[in-house]
Subunit: 226 residues, 2 copies
């Protein structure tokens, strides 16, 4: 492989800076989901409010990331991998934005139901565990963005499988004739479950995009060739 | 403004072709949601199956659109507006993909509940109207992609407001103590309502992306300056 020119190295540094910003966004989203889950489980209004207020930081970082990506594009990238990195950057911004929005939704449900708890105690364990997985996935997405390791990216899928299992079980609890908490709680639990599940999906998508960014392959192609 | 070179015109033609493919995708998504709504309202299994099978067309078109967008990127666009068009193209692919996936979700609920109807008759009217709005929004997104008219793009927001109103009313029906259809139906209605609402959100995002693509402004900036 030929040696990279100075211009190419400078470009690489900017790509790394973009990925760094995207990683920070993942961390923010994970942190927001962590606190939103606490607010939900403990009917803690101040924590819910904090998550809602802090969402502005996410919006700021998101604008910063898009600006970085546009600056990269305007430089006319020298190699296909660099083009992929830039495009992937825009796509990842959209995924992390969504993760932040979903954490915000959870916090808003906690706020809306305060001083009551939105969740019947029966499903607390599900949400504690879905919250833990969501935070783990956001953290893993950050690590993958930093390491750019496609094998590591594939591992996100496993935690997502665990999330999907929990989500399915949660639905079987809801659909059970023994559900005694009424329709309003069922509606909250349904939407909340979906928020956690979608949060995990977006983290997995980030992993897939890093696979594509670094290898030019889809995750399935990567599995087939390794 | 200086005259565009032949190279620039060729680029413009390819941008138009990309937008054409994206428009086709919007039409497919709208069509899928139209049939999924029928399947849902009439507990029509063959129609639900058809929507599920036809989703492959969406996946194919999506791959085609991304390929076109990459081809454009690799050409190193001559002007900022062209860069915006390409990046926006990737973002819109993600939005329409999601619209298609949401129509698929609706069809799958109809299939899962067959031969029963997923919806209690009481909420049929809401879903008929949400279906109509979803199809209208998908169609409008296609038109905006073709016309590239930012003013037209802003109009999508109005239909989305109507969707949000319906969605809110639907929840008040669910939360009403008079709801007699049990928790399982409430869970279905909750998720289905969310699918239509998110479908509309993605159509609106397409409109916003066209505003940015053609003017370099956010929709709010456009409103402020016109």
């Amino acid at each position: 492989m030929r040696k990279r020119s100075d211009k190419e190295s400078a470009y690489q540094e900017q790509v790394a800076a973009l990925n760094g910003t995207l990683g920070q966004m993942c961390e923010l989203a994970g942190n927001a989901m962590d606190r939103a889950t606490q607010a939900l489980l403990q009917a803690n209004l101040p924590v819910a409010e904090e998550v809602i207020t802090d969402h502005d930081q996410m919006i700021e970082l998101s604008a910063k990331a898009e600006k970085r990506a546009f600056a990269l594009l305007a430089q006319q990238a020298p190699m296909p991998a660099d083009l992929r990195a830039t495009v992937t950057g825009f796509q990842i911004v959209a995924n992390v934005d969504r993760m932040g929005a979903l954490a915000l939704h959870v916090a808003k449900v906690a706020r809306r139901r305060h001083p009551n708890k939105a969740l019947p105690e029966e499903v607390d364990g599900y949400f504690a565990e879905m919250g833990r997985l969501a935070v783990k996935l956001a953290h893993a997405a950050r690590e993958v963005l930093e390491s750019q390791d496609p094998q590591h990216a594939l591992q996100l899928e496993e935690d997502d499988d665990a999330m999907d299992d929990l989500h399915r079980h949660l639905f079987s609890v809801l659909m059970d004739r023994e559900w005694k908490h009424g329709v309003a709680a069922a509606v909250d639990v349904t939407l909340l479950g979906r928020y956690y599940e979608r949060f995990a999906d977006h983290a997995v998508l980030i992993g897939r995009r890093v696979v594509f960014q670094t290898t030019g392959m889809t995750p399935q192609q990567l599995i087939d060739t390794t």
